[in-house]
Symmetry: C2
Subunit: 597 residues, 2 copies
């Protein structure tokens, strides 16, 4: 298994040198998050991930979760690691101090989550879902619900889930069948079957708090008739848990990957539930958490891409095979290390460029999350919320597509050994493969970006971001080293607007044009977005290198990777643009039954 080392240098480059988190934290009144404190937290988090989570990643994949008579056993070490995580205070890091959290910024929580998932994606699902449930209760729960549930979730004594999907519906939540019948005591009897419930049942916590979408008897049809309920596995008591509720795990799925994450079928047989938020507004409650959750899923692409890169670089330096095309580089050995071969470097640099570009995109987006949550200025909050709304589907879909490409390349670098489970590289591909699917498929993200966010705002959300790029390009137009790339970015930034207008015009005549262009438009947008972040990194790296600051090799590598990105990956925009412009006719002209001819 590739041994994970948290990329602390790269993290500090982004938060200290590129995005100036310290200034941002100070402005947002996050006074606890001093640079020293942040550095200490990251170092401790790195240790935990490297020493506790990484070593049980491959064994977790081999052992998988086991289900027997409704009880789920997680692989060896998972339970103990969770206890250590809770003990270390990691679970409540970014949670509200009123309910026992440490109140540190969400962006810092995201970086810790990054290290956790890079080390062990399956394990990361348990705290990940808990954080989702915490957000929902924090945003929409009553004070009593917060005291009862949020405090114990924050403590890590209990864990949480999100129960949305049913056998016949995932994307289309308007047609869920789970029913909630009001009871005399103000509670509800919840009945129905939920599937694909991550962390739905396991042995890591005393209690599991399910957040369940269901319909009231008189609910309007469709998405406007969905309500959200809290359904605890055990009924809470003053100092712990009491009776078992009528919710049980019917089975767990056997999956391609994240095998140590329990994916449960949950049966609700008149289970007692409590309405959270307003009746029939359940989907809105979900939407408020969605930016955070989708950014988190996007991170999976980065995390597994990073883990794969670390393994691939090590292997490319160790494995001896063939001589360099330009003559032997290690003449004393039987062959040269494969990192001398241009095509191996192409694979490594593609991974590196995606990972580091995605990390910059994610940290910028997380910064907007902090601002949206904490700024005193309504204007700043709105601006941040708009950027968040725009960037979230890009984070989710682009980062998972490129992350999947990265993990596949990492495996390819290993040749035949990459296909053997022992080396751990193929697990990263399998663990990553779910990310383009869940939390809204990438096709849905693309519709969200082009249809809802961009065209739905008459281009306003797009302009909010392209304006940043435009200003950056203006400011750097004369950059002594990077002017050509700045000009290329400026050109694409303008083209982005033009393409959007074209698609908007077409969509007015035919709504299918949005669906036809959406995925390619999203990927196109992703490549330009990463180009912007790569140049922001390059400008900083170039300045520090010129100033002779710090580690010049690090900055040089950053510049070279930016160069690679512009030359070898950014040209993909052209293929996506042409495909996005191709129109819907070539997709829609065939009757459905002709697809099987």
């Amino acid at each position: 298994m590739p041994e994970y080392k948290a990329p602390l240098r790269d993290i500090s480059f982004l938060i200290d040198e590129v995005f100036d988190y310290p200034a941002s934290y100070a402005a947002l009144g996050a006074s606890d998050a001093t640079p020293d404190m942040v550095a200490a937290i990251l170092e401790e988090g790195a240790k935990f991930c490297e020493q506790v989570l990484s070593p049980i990643n491959r064994s977790g994949d081999e052992e998988e979760c086991q289900w027997r008579d409704g009880v789920v056993t997680t692989p060896t070490g998972f339970k103990e690691a969770f206890a250590q995580y809770v003990e270390g205070g990691w679970n409540g890091l970014a949670a509200d101090p009123t309910y026992g959290g440490q109140g540190l910024p969400h962006s810092l929580g995201l970086i810790i989550s990054e290290m956790v998932a890079s080390a062990n994606q399956s394990w990361a699902m348990y705290p990940g879902l808990t954080h989702g449930a915490m957000s929902a209760i924090h945003a929409h729960g009553s004070e009593e619900q917060k005291q009862t549930y949020l405090t114990r979730l924050t403590e890590g004594r209990w864990t949480g889930t999100m129960c949305l999907t049913e056998p016949h519906c995932g994307t289309d939540l308007g047609i869920i069948k789970t029913r909630a019948v009001p009871q005399a005591d103000g509670s509800y009897a919840i009945s129905g079957t939920k599937i694909f419930i991550s962390a739905g049942e396991h042995d890591m916590s005393e209690n599991i708090i399910h957040l369940v979408l269901a319909k009231l008897p008189d609910a309007p049809a469709g998405t406007k008739g969905i309500s959200l309920f809290i359904v605890p596995k055990f009924h809470p008591t003053a100092d712990g848990v009491g009776e078992r509720n009528a919710v049980s795990c019917g089975s767990i799925e056997h999956k391609m990957g994240i095998k140590a994450s329990a994916t449960c079928v949950m049966n609700f047989d008149g289970a007692t539930g409590y309405l959270i938020g307003e009746a029939n507004k359940g989907l809105n409650c979900m939407f408020t958490m969605m930016n955070h959750a989708r950014l988190g899923t996007g991170m999976q692409g980065l995390c597994l891409g990073e883990a794969s890169y670390q393994g691939a670089v090590r292997y490319a330096n160790d494995r001896l095979q063939m001589r360099a095309l330009t003559g032997p580089k290690a003449p004393d050995k039987a062959a040269d290390p494969i990192i001398v071969h241009p095509d191996v470097r192409r694979m490594l640099l593609t991974m590196k460029a995606f990972n580091e570009g995605n990390r910059a995109l994610a940290y910028f987006t997380a910064q907007q999350l902090d601002i949206a949550h904490r700024s005193d200025s309504a204007e700043q909050r709105e601006e941040a919320e708009n950027l968040l709304a725009f960037l979230t589907p890009i984070c989710k879909a682009f980062m998972t597509e490129s992350g999947l490409e990265a993990t596949n390349l990492g495996m390819q670098v290993f040749g035949g050994h990459g296909y053997i489970r022992e080396w751990g590289m193929e697990q990263l591909v399998r663990d990553c493969r779910i990310a383009p699917i869940y939390e809204g498929t990438n096709g849905i993200q693309a519709l969200d970006l082009l249809g809802r966010k961009v065209l739905g705002s008459q281009g306003k959300l797009l302009r909010g971001f392209t304006k940043l790029i435009h200003k950056f390009c203006q400011a750097q137009a004369e950059h002594p080293r990077l002017a050509a790339q700045v000009a290329e970015l400026a050109r694409l930034n303008q083209q982005w607007g033009e393409l959007t207008q074209k698609l908007g015009m077409a969509a007015m005549k035919n709504p299918d044009e949005v669906g036809a262009a959406a995925l390619d438009y999203l990927m196109y947008s992703g490549y330009i977005t990463l180009a912007y972040f790569w140049l922001r990194m390059a400008v900083v790296a170039d300045a520090s290198r010129q100033a002779g600051e710090g580690d010049s090799a690090y900055y040089q590598t950053k510049l070279a990777t930016c160069d690679f990105y512009f030359k070898r990956l950014l040209p993909r925009t052209e293929a996506h643009r042409l495909a996005a412009e191709a129109g819907s006719d070539c997709l829609m002209q065939l009757p459905a039954e002709h697809f099987s001819l």
Copy 2:
């Protein structure tokens, strides 16, 4: 598991309507392969694959092969299926009648192998490797070796392997360590460890014949000192097998996919072996079979892409989720079938366009294989061999890359269900993932194409193919319906030559330029190659549709898929061209140690 249906209509479209196999078979004197006979063989083959192999595909993945004390047990039904295959005469279909084969054309054998691998890729490995061993013995064995081994391999009583890879070398066979020491009786004592040996040990046949690369004691260093040996598991006797040879299976690998294919570590402990072909010419012996084997590996992309497509289309018609963007299409149901959504169609059509384009490429290439083997005309044989040499790396790499994309899309169409093993869609991704790696990684194929074949022939092999395209475009320039696509193909065909010249010039100054451009050059070449075959199909389909022949819906679908290919997939050439032209500097400028910063 997607239930496999052999695409007999598409097969007959290609062999009867596009490539005119009957005329080709007649000209090559393959008088047994009459159209009626071919149709009957394909129908019987389809039945076997659909009814015998497809049903044990998923169970084979779940059971995997089991190793115990050197004995490998294949999953339930594998042994029986092999007996039926042998009984049905499938194993010797395209083999030399002198040694018990039926002497049918290789192209027909390829189509049967396609159906076999589409139904069950793991199972296909056993006869696949046997056919490889048969080719090697047929091409290089002595008459005695042919009588002893080839007859029984053809009969299917024995199976074969190819033992190349060792723990420290796969691509770089020049550094193998397995030794062959001459014995007094003219045999050799073979000692060493081979890994990744498909079908190295199993319970399906009476004997296993290993073809082993090893070095003689006085062999020159590198690839010019490799010899090929026959090492039987049991020593042959007049009517069967005798004593066990000193070769054993030390373990089997646990892999990402093709889990029912035994991938063995083979230990040769002074095993008795027999030189085949000339001493120190072992790699040449391998090369003569490589076109066939690499085409076969390319087929894996088509086969699993086809299986995945069949599953995805069925699911897209069944699964109800959301309403069409243009309003309800199935108002009587809770939601519309997802095939109404443009992005779902984009995925399906991408799969369909790759599969059918790849099938055309493969069948054309197989036709060249027939001509190269059978034509009386030396000129025809040379032309066919040149086309084969040129197209083989494209078949191997482009078909496996696009096939992997297809299987991933098929899984994506299923949403969360695609990730669940039960549905069988993720198995197809896992089974396909090895194809870009083995039989020469796609990076090696790319070097073979650009370095060895194209630049190594001073462009001659490229011109041999682009000339065909040029002639086709000239003939069809005024096509009433397809002229625009013909013009686009002609433009790209010319650009292909120009790009090649540019790369050739750069390579003269710096050999790294070949490695830097190779993979993108190969993919670029693949997209243009498929465009040519798509247009050839479209011209035929259009003519038949105009003439009111046969099934007009089938021809219309072909034309629509061609349209889709040109609009949505062919633009990818642009991204690959720009990347191929980007030069080696952005890959080579970083010292190896900077990759880990």
